[in-house]
């Protein structure tokens, strides 16, 4: 029988630290800053996809804000009654889950054409995520350079064996929120982990300290106002939604890379596109087109469905959310005892030859 407590007892099968032996191995084996497979696409066609415009993101931002204000106001109005629950459920998802994709898109600078709009959204969404905007920018850059390369990628969400219980607790932010707050606390006094120093240039650290202090000061004001008014309502609106509203994020986000190959140089093998209905794509700003995003990070979220159509002949056939989890969950359970097990993505007939990378050349 599978021991579900095993993830709490086991150490990861490999050393996922960015400063440990796997880093050196990755460098030696030529997996670092390597050349990745990219589906050939006509430059004129690609230019249509990468073109920047403000319109779609302004529209979606206004809708998002309107929904946040409406559901938040409803929650406040009905506070103290059961009627507040559905409002806060919706508000929480719009805050705790949606802010992740807004953070991501503005980090890439692809949401808007106008630069200050991207920068402003990035700061706002980082705050909502309880993430240091400086550190996470550099973390994500590394994730794009060395996606799921062990010893290099700081954003491997499901290390082997998968920490099933911790992931379950995280559906309501029970590990991520305290961890994020502690990280802000560390950063605010100039303390950074070895991993953070590995991917963040030294010159950026003072800005990271300042950002952490500003974020903590705002959270401090929220806590003070809770005491002054004798209610947790302010925290229900700012801060706590990152916990009670984050549950949908791992459901849509973990499949981005979970259960797939490590140490390959082909996003078709280590990333996963899933098909989602429109409301979920709005919440997730099309980040379900994850293979496409990694292959062509210049393409804005609103052009990803069109890019998907243009390159799907070369990529694994995507599944819906339920079908994806039906395939993924048993694999994660099996990885608890068999850490060499993973899903081998199947490429369609006629697709470009997979780039397994130097370690897995078949």
């Amino acid at each position: 029988m599978t021991d579900l407590l095993a993830p709490l007892k086991f150490k990861p099968s490999r050393n996922y630290s960015l400063t440990g032996p796997e880093k050196d191995r990755a460098i030696e084996d030529g997996l670092v800053s390597a050349e990745w497979y990219q589906t050939p696409i006509d430059r004129k066609v690609l230019k249509q996809f990468i073109k920047r415009t403000d319109g779609p993101a302004i529209r979606d931002f206004v809708i998002w804000m309107a929904l946040l204000v409406t559901t938040g106001a409803g929650g406040v109005y009905f506070w103290g009654t059961w009627w507040a629950v559905p409002f806060f459920v919706a508000y929480g998802v719009l805050y705790g889950t949606s802010s992740d994709s807004r953070w991501h898109e503005s980090l890439h600078g692809t949401a808007f054409k106008t630069r200050w709009m991207n920068d402003w959204l990035y700061e706002l969404a980082s705050f909502m995520q309880i993430w240091n905007p400086v550190i996470w920018r550099w973390s994500h850059m590394r994730h794009h350079t060395d996606t799921t390369i062990v010893g290099r990628d700081p954003e491997i969400g499901t290390m082997r064996p998968p920490q099933m219980i911790l992931m379950g607790l995280n559906l309501i932010g029970l590990t991520s929120v305290p961890r994020n707050l502690l990280a802000l606390g560390r950063h605010s006094v100039g303390r950074f982990t070895d991993d953070e120093r590995d991917f963040t240039p030294e010159s950026e650290l003072p800005r990271a300290v300042l950002s952490a202090r500003i974020h903590l000061a705002i959270y401090g004001c929220v806590i003070v106002s809770c005491f002054v008014w004798g209610t947790i309502l302010p925290a229900m609106l700012i801060g706590l939604p990152r916990a009670y509203g984050v549950w949908l994020l791992p459901i849509m986000g973990l499949p981005q890379h979970a259960g797939l190959a490590e140490d390959v140089l082909d996003h078709r093998l280590n990333s996963r596109t899933i098909l989602l209905p429109l409301p979920l794509r709005f919440i997730y700003w099309n980040m379900n087109y994850h293979v496409e995003h990694h292959m062509f990070p210049m393409v804005p979220y609103h052009a990803l469905p069109a890019l998907h159509e243009a390159i799907k002949h070369d990529c694994p056939k995507p599944k819906g959310l339920l079908a994806t989890w039906r395939e993924l969950f048993p694999v994660m359970i099996r990885q608890i005892r068999d850490q060499n097990h993973y899903i081998h993505q199947v490429l369609p007939d006629g697709a470009g030859a997979p780039n397994f990378g130097p370690r897995q050349q078949h």
């Binding site: 800053s33 890439h108 600078g109 350079t145 240039p201």
Partner: protein
């Protein structure tokens, strides 16, 4: 500092960038919407990715890998993660051909 004949101006669309390899090095040649031409080193200073695969927006080239940006007029770094400036080169157009002035 010799002027080297690079490519025909007609080879690049307006508002686009093109790769040009010469003497074992790679360069990027830009043509703006207003029909101005510029040239720079072809590889991003962040992680050596070809800028010719990037997106030209006015006077800024966006790198295709991490969306870092440079000003093509002077090579200055305009958006993280690029921190180091890009080397630029003088360009002239003569009878439809683009010439780039490269160091000896």
């Amino acid at each position: 500092m010799p002027w080297i004949e690079a490519i025909s101006a007609d080879d690049i669309d307006r508002d686009d960038v093109m790769r040009w390899d010469y003497g074992g090095r790679t360069y990027a040649i830009y043509r703006t919407e207003d029909d101005e031409f510029f040239a720079s080193d072809g590889l991003c200073t962040h992680e050596k990715v070809h800028l010719a695969d990037g997106l030209l927006m006015d006077y800024e080239i966006e790198c295709p890998k991490h969306n870092g940006r440079f000003d093509i007029r002077d090579g200055s770094a305009r958006r993280a993660p690029v921190c180091e400036a890009l080397r630029t080169y003088p360009v002239k157009v003569d009878v439809g051909m683009i010439y780039v002035e490269l160091p000896d």
